[in-house]
Symmetry: C2
Subunit: 467 residues, 2 copies
């Protein structure tokens, strides 16, 4: 699709800054073409836009050193984790120094009694879960990628079990942040709640590297349930599948996961994984708790599904069975890409109140069909969040334009339903144009004032978030 | 105790402003001495500090009109709900116009399918629960007072069931706010999650009226459990009671409430309510869920308590029985005041990681004893938050000084345990001095920059939060 990022003013890397960084970081500083190229793109469809150099800090003090050097030259900075952004967050549209945090992957503290852990921002979510494997606890936020904690804070990420355990915002207790002038702050202490001053933790969470650079993250952990059961069930239409989840939530069933895949996604999975799932709207569910609770939740959900015309439940309780049952869901993204070999994809991220979700999906599917595009749909039903994968021939400008138009109409539909243009992927470059429509001039004006107050010279990930 | 608020510069109410407000609001504007006095104090021990006038808006447009008039004269504004602050939030230390939001108590929308409701900021939490009584849903945040939703947003309030359902921060989806220049913004839409721009909702939540005036609040609701059981159990010492709750949480028991009252509090309750509870550290517990879940949770907790030397559980399941069992807990505050008739009380609000809670309470109780003061202790154990009610003869300056010293040492102890000076009451006037100790110069510096960016002329509740 080769989306071209908006042109940004660039200034050459000042030689003094280059020399100072080279001296301070030695081999952990690079201006090599291949390194720069690698750090100039993400999982979005934008053409790469490389930074001027890449630096690899090992700790907060290293990051503060880079920031102070860049601040002195008013030169842009872009924090980087594993590059799994979907919205162009990492592109150096104004040039700048890329701070690659991937070597900052140490676990700093685990407090099982408090159900908290602190790690450097470059640790990935799976890395954290490996580190706490013997505590009986788990870190729950699970976006598609094995993203870094810092990246997940930056976008306010979420995932399949957000319906039960919340988003990254709900699971962050405290952050260590390097400010635009290179000072180090901790946004909160480790108490589970506090009313002591403005909520800096939540201000940095979702700020996409534009207000400060997150270097350490303290998160909440949750006890692993005694028993987990997974189930798959299909429905005649999307509306019934969505309604099933709504009713379960209203009955107070603590669903651990509730993912809806439409018929086209299931067809893609069958072709990709050689499965033979019925090609109909399907719920992938997970329940957790004591054995008795899991049994009770499962029975309740089966009776709800039956009244809505749902098929028979396929169950799995042992870990390897559960993995097998859920594997198709985890492979959905790559399976969908194979619906059109050679295609790229524009991924939408609308999120609406769940009472409007079925309408929003129905209208979107009709719009996709009218546009002559191919676009499987799947989503986190319990959160009202779904993704529409608009599959595109990267060389077809007309198709590209039609896909952007579908995406734009979807955003407007979501906003009309009192929803948001992005439930979990963030704004980055791609959604900036919608902030005004979603929040209005006055609210975006406040965001601009906050940006100006915290980053007066605009050196932190410039060109992102704010229109 | 007659604490005197710090002196603030005051300017006389400009006659043009007075006339403009009188003309715009007629009988809903008052400069009467009695009205001003009533609005010049809260539940804290400060001597009153009345505003220059009080205005009673009926909707957001009314509030915006007041703010624009005050902004034009750069005259202070103080939002007011039911006056239940414990930290001096409402005192007009720089004079100003009090905006009494209590007439803004309409429910604007209830969406049972989405488990959300929107109301004007002057509605109280009990008022909201009455309005949604027939939906099967409940609004869960329950501080001691029947506070307004706006007041609860302002302080980031919490209560007895925060251990299960979260604080006000966790239950606010979106706010309508009048900014310092009289513009109206909505901080978010009604989707359950969003990554669209900076988190204005959480910035205003806990800002104590210093960044904007909250006029409408959209909150999350929760399904009422099918079954609820309450239990009371006592222990030989505070540590065992705390440990019981920690172990229950680690086992994943979804405790709905877990309140610890120390022996002195129980003695106060026995004297006040003519009960005969054993005068020992006691847990008041509540479980919710299906019948089977409640039974299972109860059994699990009984076995945990038994291993820690806990006594027999007293159970109650029917509503009237549960009310009877819990009434002593709800009356604890007034019962404690009666330990010393005629006394006032300085209420502390430390919150620490739960692994440090028993140490923090133990050390505090020893400190209280060494200081020769009387101070019952009770708290929200599952959150690591407890209140120490320092009972004082209001005429005894020495006792006052000793109580402030105990309170200060407790704050420093909590901070040393990686906790906070205030878990739920907010900063107001009384805790401002501790913000630097808790957050450090650089973080408080960021808070100051945010205040300056959003309220450049300092007209919103001046003198509060920031040191």
């Amino acid at each position: 699709m080769d989306m071209v990022p908006p042109p940004g003013a660039r200034r050459a890397l000042p030689p003094e800054l280059r020399d100072a960084l080279a001296q301070a970081f030695g081999e952990r500083f690079s201006t090599a073409e291949a390194v720069r190229q690698q750090h100039g793109s993400d999982e979005s469809a934008y053409v790469p836009c490389p930074p001027d150099a890449v630096v690899y800090p090992l700790d907060t003090a290293d990051v503060a050193r880079v920031v102070r050097l860049c601040a002195a030259h008013r030169f842009p900075l872009i924090p980087y984790g594993v590059g799994s952004s979907l919205e162009g967050h990492l592109l150096a549209v104004h040039g700048g120094i890329c701070i690659d945090l991937s070597r900052m992957d140490r676990v700093l503290a685990i407090q099982p009694e408090d159900q908290t852990a602190t790690a450097q921002a470059g640790l990935t979510r799976e890395g954290l879960n490996r580190a706490i494997a013997d505590t009986g606890l788990m870190f729950t936020v699970d976006p598609g990628a094995d993203a870094t904690l810092g990246g997940m804070v930056a976008t306010g990420a979420s995932g399949t079990n957000t319906v039960r355990y919340g988003t990254m915002r709900d699971n962050v207790l405290s952050l260590t942040v390097v400010t635009a002038d290179g000072e180090v702050i901790r946004t909160a202490r480790r108490a589970r709640k506090s009313s002591a001053g403005y909520n800096l933790t939540q201000l940095f969470c979702g700020s996409e590297g534009t207000l400060g650079i997150v270097t350490e993250v303290t998160v909440k952990l949750h006890p692993r349930p005694e028993s987990i059961a997974a189930a798959v069930v299909n429905f005649a239409d999307v509306r019934s599948a969505v309604e099933c989840v709504i009713q379960a939530i209203q009955l107070g069933v603590p669903l651990a996961r509730a993912e809806m895949l439409d018929a086209l996604t299931i067809r893609a999975i069958n072709a990709h994984s050689h499965t033979s799932l019925p090609e109909a709207p399907t719920l992938f569910l997970e329940f957790g708790g004591s054995n008795a609770q899991v049994r009770e939740q499962g029975e309740l959900l089966q009776s709800v599904a039956q009244e809505l015309g749902g098929g028979a439940f396929q169950w799995a309780t042992r870990p390897e069975e559960r993995t097998r049952l859920w594997t198709p869901r985890h492979r959905a993204y790559f399976a969908c890409l194979q619906l059109r070999p050679g295609s790229r994809c524009l991924t939408t991220d609308a999120c609406v109140p769940i009472s409007r979700l079925a309408d929003c999906i129905d209208e979107t599917v009709r719009d996709v069909q009218a546009s002559g595009l191919v676009a499987p749909v799947f989503g986190h039903v319990g959160d009202g969040n779904f993704h529409c994968l608009l599959l595109l021939d990267p060389r077809d400008a007309d198709e590209n334009a039609r896909a952007e138009a579908v995406s734009q109409r979807l955003v407007r539909r979501a906003i009309a339903f009192d929803g948001t243009c992005t439930g979990e992927h963030g704004v980055g470059l791609h959604k900036r144009g919608y902030l005004l429509e979603e929040h209005g001039e006055a609210a975006v004006g406040l965001m601009r004032r906050i940006k100006q107050a915290l980053d007066p010279h605009g050196i932190l990930n410039p060109g992102k978030v704010l229109p």
